[in-house]
């Protein structure tokens, strides 16, 4: 008598957990698709465009890494509800950009990124910034906080570490630091951006 009940409840729990895992992936993907429209519309409007009614945030930049097939819309703010839909960005007092994303969705590619990798960040006003990965470092988040007052020539990406950890909510973080590259340094990757965008569209 107990066995069928156990089987049914375990089946339910199992499917619910797997559905949850799939929803995470689905949200991460869907958020990007829905935001695409808001992003293109925000080019023509002064005020931020919400991707759907009641959305927690709106896209403020487009992040692309040529060579790794990475092309994400970045949302305003880095709080947990926002990160479900896309990488979130906060800008410090002096323009230091901080982008956070989940290790198992949008920032899973950080596993492969190495120093010297060039990165483009397109802003809402159409300006394209060129960046280069300068450092990767693993730190313990319990005793440190991010310095929002750092220079605008630096960008920090943050995600949880290790990538294969089974438990979530661990204290370790991977910090990837990027340095701004003047435009003229980067004629080659400029054409690369055009290519990736072409693919994405």
């Amino acid at each position: 008598m107990i066995r069928p009940l156990l089987i049914v409840s375990l089946l339910a729990v199992g499917l619910w957990q797997i559905a949850g895992a799939t929803t995470i992936q689905a949200k991460a993907w869907l958020g990007q698709v829905l935001m695409e429209r808001a992003w293109s519309r925000s080019r023509w409007e002064d005020s931020p465009v919400l991707p759907w009614p009641g959305a927690v945030s709106h896209p403020i930049a487009r992040l692309s890494v040529p060579g790794l097939d990475v092309d994400y819309l970045v949302l305003d703010g880095a709080d947990t509800p926002i990160l479900a839909w896309g990488p979130g960005m906060e800008v410090g007092l002096n323009g230091h950009r901080l982008i956070a994303a989940h290790r198992d969705t949008h920032f899973s590619f950080l596993r492969e990124i190495s120093s010297g990798q060039s990165v483009q960040l397109e802003l809402a006003n159409g300006q394209v910034e060129h960046w280069r990965v300068s450092n990767r470092e693993i730190i313990d988040s319990r005793g440190l906080s991010l310095n929002l007052a750092a220079s605008n020539q630096q960008m920090t990406w943050i995600t949880c570490w290790p990538f294969d950890a089974i438990d979530s909510g661990g204290p370790m973080r991977l910090l990837v630091t990027l340095k701004r590259v003047p435009y003229f340094d980067n004629q080659l990757s400029q054409t690369a951006t055009v290519d990736t965008t072409g693919v994405a569209l």
Partner: protein, 683 residues
Amino acid sequence: MFAHRLLGSVLLLFGSSVSLAQGLETDQAMLWLDYDAQSSSTVALVTDIEIEVTGMLAYSVIKQQFLNDSQEWAEGRYVFPLPDGVAVESLRVAVGNRVIAGEIQEREQARITYETARAEGRIASLVEQERANLFSTSIANIAPGEVLEIQIGFRQKIDYVHGEFRLRFPMSIAPPYVPGAALSTEAGSPQDGGGWSENTTRAPDASKITPTLVGPLESTNPVALRVELNSGMPLAYLEASHHLIDKQFDRGLWQITLEGPNADPHKDFELVWRPAVGAHVDSAVFLQRLADQDHALLMLLPPEQFVAQQTRREVTLIIDTSGSMQGESIQQAREALLFALDSLSAQDHFNLIEFNNAASSLFRSPVEASSANLRAARDFVHRLKADGGTEMLKPLDLAMQQQVSAGFLPQIVFVTDGQVGNTVEIIKHVRSTIGDSRLFTVGIGHGVNSQFLDDLARFGRGSAVLIADLWQVQNRMNELVTQLTSPVLHDIELHWPSEVEFLPTQMPDLYIGQPLLVAARGDKLRGDLLVTGLSDGQRWQQVIPLETFQTAPGVAAYWGRQAIQHELDRSGQDISPEESRLRVIDLAVEYQLLSPYTSLVAVDKTPQRSHAAALRRHDVPGYLPDNGQRGQSIMARAMPATDAGMLQRLLRGLLALAMVVLLLLHPFVSRDAALGTDQDTPA
């Protein structure tokens, strides 16, 4: 340099792990700060400010007690603001019952003196000027558990504007926006100030003006403040603008103390007093004789009623919408702008410029102040949001390069908190490109860089006004608008009875509500001074008898301070920077004053610390201004959570499914198992 900077940021050593800090001595250290929720600091600081006001001048002593709460010998460093244009003249270190007096030395020499004493284990203290209104103290060799007190004496002038006296004492420092590319600075070198910012190409001293700061929720270091006011006349009004005070009148003196034990150090202190009706504030001469020379401070009050004439104005309003303006500041700025828009008359022209990282103007060029245009401007003002950096040169250039219509008086009204690191660069640029435009500054919020805004207005031949609270917008903007719309007193000339030196050498234009302040030095100042000027094409003149002076201490220091400023202003203009430096040093030594090139240093005679004992350096955090920002700790942000937990859920789900499969297979498995058990039991 980074290891050193990191050590600097480890202010909150209790509990926060040193091992972590050591693990982080890399190129990246400046991106994050060590922090400790307990905010227990090893070197604590108690600040006690005593201000004595006599007439137009004040003498103040700021006492900083450094408490070493650790088991090791400590060195403390603290960066703090002082009122604009102060003349810092003395340093004393109190060790128990003994007092060590400081002396003025050339900046590099003073640093060597200090560092030598530090290495020898002597108690030593160094006070340096980082900016005209920003100073730092260092104190070396505080024994474990001991308290050392530093006393810094300085003089300042009281502002008399629009019929009231104002004494301002800044308490907080807002973190500035630092543009430019990072320079490599050697750790521990004189250029390295240990701040959170690196030195950059556009702000070469940024590391010295960016101390770590704490917000209202975390501050533990108390500040007390006391004012003794000898106003010399009956008063109708005496209040502090942002603090609650207790005041008592006794034997001709007002004693003002803060209600409650400590001041709120996140709000700037401002004391305002007005003479009683009938009491007359008149032009006055203050005199001090020093080293066989007369030093004088003259205050001239222009007539209050100019004959008003309608001048057509072309007003460009610039509004700072950078991140530091968030909170109440942007509201104050909006109100100020709306007030300025309301003051425009139909024949005036105007434009609006907004800036943060970039600057944009509402109209391509100034337009008529028609009701439709004004409506568009008000909508624009209501939509303003504060975010991003503070690239201040862009909007100023945009405004200064606008085509001025013939017959119009170009006025620029600049609304900002002045929080930038590259002030030197901006002032230099404005000086060379301002042309005929007049630049008026409106300083917003607590922790505003008022010295910088004052300098901008001085070189822009306008005036400066400060607003730190919403309720002040109406009053202060009213003062500004009166100045914008009334004619000025210009071409002011002084005719002295004998040969004297006087400052400023070029008299500024005088706006309504402002007195003319002149500092003078001569062998014997006697006879009548004739002051002439023009307003609206009419000649104005006033005679000041120099014989009817009041003696006042501090006038010589005021002269010295003005003379130093004069030489600094000439640097790179009509004299070379090196020549300017030498002149400043001469003046600073003659009048015993702190300057960009001279410091105060005090050294004890006998060493206290043995060579074997270690000395650890601690930077004591300053105070963030309280401008009603959402997050008070704008310096730091906790690490975000960056796990979606997908793998965890997937594994949990798969585990549950695997158990289902096991349960389904159970009948078959258990029968085999049962058989096995049966066989085993007999044995």
